[in-house]
Symmetry: C2
Subunit: 654 residues, 2 copies
Amino acid sequence: MAVYLHDIPLSQAKDIFQQALVDAGLGGVLGEEEMEVSVELLGRVLSRPVWAKISSPHYHASAMDGFCVRADSTNEATLTHPVELLVGEQAVYVDTGDVIPAGFNAVIQIENTEPLDAGNHISEDVRNPDKIRIRASVVPWHHVRALGEDMVATELVLPAGHTIRPVDLGALAGSGHVRVHVSRKPKVAVIPTGTELVEVSQEVRPGDIIEYNSLVLAAQVKQWGGNATRHSIVVDDKEQISRVVEEAAKTHDMVLLNAGSSAGSEDFSATVVGELGELLVHGIAVRPGHPVILGMLDGGGGRKVPVIGVPGYPVSAALTGEIFLEPLLAQWLGRQPHSPDMIEAELTRKVTSPAGDDDYQRVVVGKVGDRVLATLLSRGAGVLSSLVKADGIAIFPSGSQGKAAGEKVNVRLYRSRSEVDKTIFVIGSHDLTIDLLAQYISQEGFRITSANVGSLAGLIALRRGESHFSGSHLLDPETGEYNFSYIKKYLPGIKIRVVGMVKRQQGLMVPKRNPKGIHSLEDLVRGDVVYINRQPGAGTRVLLDYQLDKLGIAVENVNGYAQEEYTHLMVAAAIASGRADCGMGIAAAAQSMGLDFVPLYEERYDLIVREEYVESAYFKAVLNILDNENFKEDILALPGYQVDDIGGTLAVLE
Amino acid sequence: MAVYLHDIPLSQAKDIFQQALVDAGLGGVLGEEEMEVSVELLGRVLSRPVWAKISSPHYHASAMDGFCVRADSTNEATLTHPVELLVGEQAVYVDTGDVIPAGFNAVIQIENTEPLDAGNHISEDVRNPDKIRIRASVVPWHHVRALGEDMVATELVLPAGHTIRPVDLGALAGSGHVRVHVSRKPKVAVIPTGTELVEVSQEVRPGDIIEYNSLVLAAQVKQWGGNATRHSIVVDDKEQISRVVEEAAKTHDMVLLNAGSSAGSEDFSATVVGELGELLVHGIAVRPGHPVILGMLDGGGGRKVPVIGVPGYPVSAALTGEIFLEPLLAQWLGRQPHSPDMIEAELTRKVTSPAGDDDYQRVVVGKVGDRVLATLLSRGAGVLSSLVKADGIAIFPSGSQGKAAGEKVNVRLYRSRSEVDKTIFVIGSHDLTIDLLAQYISQEGFRITSANVGSLAGLIALRRGESHFSGSHLLDPETGEYNFSYIKKYLPGIKIRVVGMVKRQQGLMVPKRNPKGIHSLEDLVRGDVVYINRQPGAGTRVLLDYQLDKLGIAVENVNGYAQEEYTHLMVAAAIASGRADCGMGIAAAAQSMGLDFVPLYEERYDLIVREEYVESAYFKAVLNILDNENFKEDILALPGYQVDDIGGTLAVLE
């Protein structure tokens, strides 16, 4: 009963789709409309080349306020032997932009003329004296803007397919155009389907999925030059979906049918497309996003309307837009498809990639020292935040099985290179104050990208030169001191500065009102208590292990010790959802998920940076923020935080 | 009586303006408004950071269609020893996205389950059988999207100052936001002034200037996130201008007063600003654009309204927008100002620059072989087409007097680097078919930038490696052959291919109906005939000199021989405007300016390319177009053209 997708290569899918478009007469510009040369033209695409109708200037124009003269009448003039010219006959006053009268061929700036009256006295009327006296000669066409200096009639002003920018409006108007032809905007219907979906404005209950793919797709259509109509949510009912799609095809140039494109029990998209027209492709070997449907609907009157069945996972949906929607809109508008800037970057981690798929991996890209680095973000097709945070996409083509750490990849950038230059990698332990720092530093034009890998992994990233700085709270059981001994051990021979950030409370996060009465680590061995742990190398894990050891509790006796999460917030979330009864973490994380908190220990959370970067622009910006009173107040508003050492140098180690 | 501007350095002007803004309480975000999370948010700037209100997913969700199970209940299952689970008790069917019921912690894909009825036969009802049989164990959280996998409540989703893109809409909605706060759009009044101005839709007569600066400025405001109101043209009358500015200040956040910013007799802007408020700056040492006015108006009720007096020359106006308007709008919106991508390029020519000014030179940038080259476009402040054609701006800072050819400059790019990689430099003789080629090749994603320097200078540019190919029509008087002997002489040791383009008619362009009855070169020595010439090295100049020599006419006897223009069209324009009575050129140029044409000679116009580039992507695209029937037809529609040799190789020379 289940339909299994047969994935075909991306290039083949594109070819099939393109051929179907060409066959349907939809391979080029959809149509054009005439529009006035006005601000409304901004961003529109010219459907015809524009040739200058008139020259600009369309007459010989004065480039200065002054007197028109015949250049040869000035030949004799020198500082000591001035020449006098009769106004009206030998000289005529012009303002900038005025026509050079017939018979004249140069302009002398008014500042370089002496106005004289009939009696050879200085005249008050500088613009209309009887004579002018000049003390220098001028060459022909001096201070004259010749006809056509800017554009000559019949010359190409802008080619067809050009997207209009502000200055282009000037060139169009200046070359005599009142109206121009632009490609008409393709009309795209966006239809979200799914019984589990709720509109953005509705309240959500468990099992409800907030429907936002249609927003993303409609915004993509708008951004890329089309007009989107967003339909309200259609429940998973084949007849209803079919009716809505059929209606949409009648009034649109394209239909985006979101979700139901897979092969599940309630995935009707392929069937609907097949019944209403032709199902061309179902399943493409691209990841994420493989359950894409491409088809051609009947729009009535023999009109064909392409349809894309867009997968439901948000990353898949957005990438489907980039892969299929953008180039098609470009084609219909007659403009070039976007060609993102590429940057070569070094992978910080080994990447495995399915050999059969074109694998679109989201990466952050930043420059640490002289190296341009690319770090993979989450690969989950459901993790939209990975696309929000991404600086670009590294494509691992079908046939490749990935790359080793240190290998180069080409990244298609979402941001400009200058923005990438302002990316700050913060790899290490997570703390909410790093998010706060990210907010503050964004005002300075920098962008923090944090990878929450735990304190120890953060130090190792710093050693490898893969991060700009790191947050760390590693307790040394021998000394009770934080971080220093670990830095000496893991970053030998590298000069490192430890900068104070916060002191914060560690303790046990428990559900609201602490139903199981958990008050200390001793409770973790109770049969009714399930713990959720942090990963090895996390400062919190080090702290737990240290304290359990001190209390003589064997980790084998802690139920759930093997369950690991990578951040405080993920531990808090696990407790909030009932997956565990308690976990160690910080008070702020507990509060953020509505949990109670049993305070146990105070610890230091420091920033760790290579000494060589302390004077760099980005770290200066960090230090400035640490010194900012508003920033400190915002931290103190979080529960369990102290900022006594913030911004101070706690140690310089080598 | 005349007011003289006192230019101050740009940085000082910016400081004064900024201080005045801060003093007026206008140094930051102007205000905010709450908007629904919808497509309308696209391009808006967040005025507050957005923290996740709910986690995404906000419950543990199935990542597959299949059966929820307890992972430990599957531990024993192997291929040969399957485990059976009771549906309802030990296994529950879920669709992708469904809630994982309490007590379950993993999902087995439906494809990996065998549905059984009570009698252990295969059940038809795959989603609700009595039991399922499984043949593999699963680990906890297998195929489960854990609560917060994408975003955890309280985490930073997007910082304040972020400009919203399509994917961001998904992240906002997915993290529980129905409405968000964005910066309100600054309201900017654009007021064009000038008695000589006419609206775009009006017919123009000599002396009329088409008013398009307000379009460019209003479009800049729109592009950079503001709302512009464009006022109709105000004549040069101080009272009228003052009234309009005063009104505009009452209802806008900023006023752009276009032109009248200089110190001419009808330049009232500075006076008006001074009378209605405070004149802060009049004259900035920046070129083009130095007569900028910065001031602060009174908007009523103590409200301050900044005003920029924008210079009248179109390049100055557009650059004033980039220098002052864009950063101010960024500040008011709370976003970062645009930081254009920079590219380092080699100057193809010596550049002199006034030492006292920050000199903004428009350049085209392209990659020829391995070198990134920057070539200056016209410096005239009236030459808007230079800004339309520019790939970027090279700034020669005050204090610098320019740079030598071959020196490196940093260019602020208007286009992406990938677009720059598709720029084709065509330097040499101009022909209308090069414009036509530019139009055709733009459809292939390439962009032709042509510099019309004449045939010989084109060959020299090719030798220096400064162009991708060249157009040339240099007649060898010895052989009557075109181009070959020049290539051997000027490009020795370089393998060059000569590709056929067109044969075209050269002759004398004369005013309509040939009022002076000019029929041959012999007429050029008549006392009543003024000739206009091409520059030395132009193929047309070579042809003229050759023919005059053959006829035994001394160039001294040709009246106007010393008047030189750089293109056919400029020669035609000179004749059309009455500057000269005739000039040699091509039939198409004559036709384009409404001139008559006296055909005299037929000549070959070839494309010259380095052999090493013949197989490059750009030249293949050129050859494809030369082979395109539509292209040939378009050429043949021009008067006096033949395309017999088009696309063929005429010679390969070394």
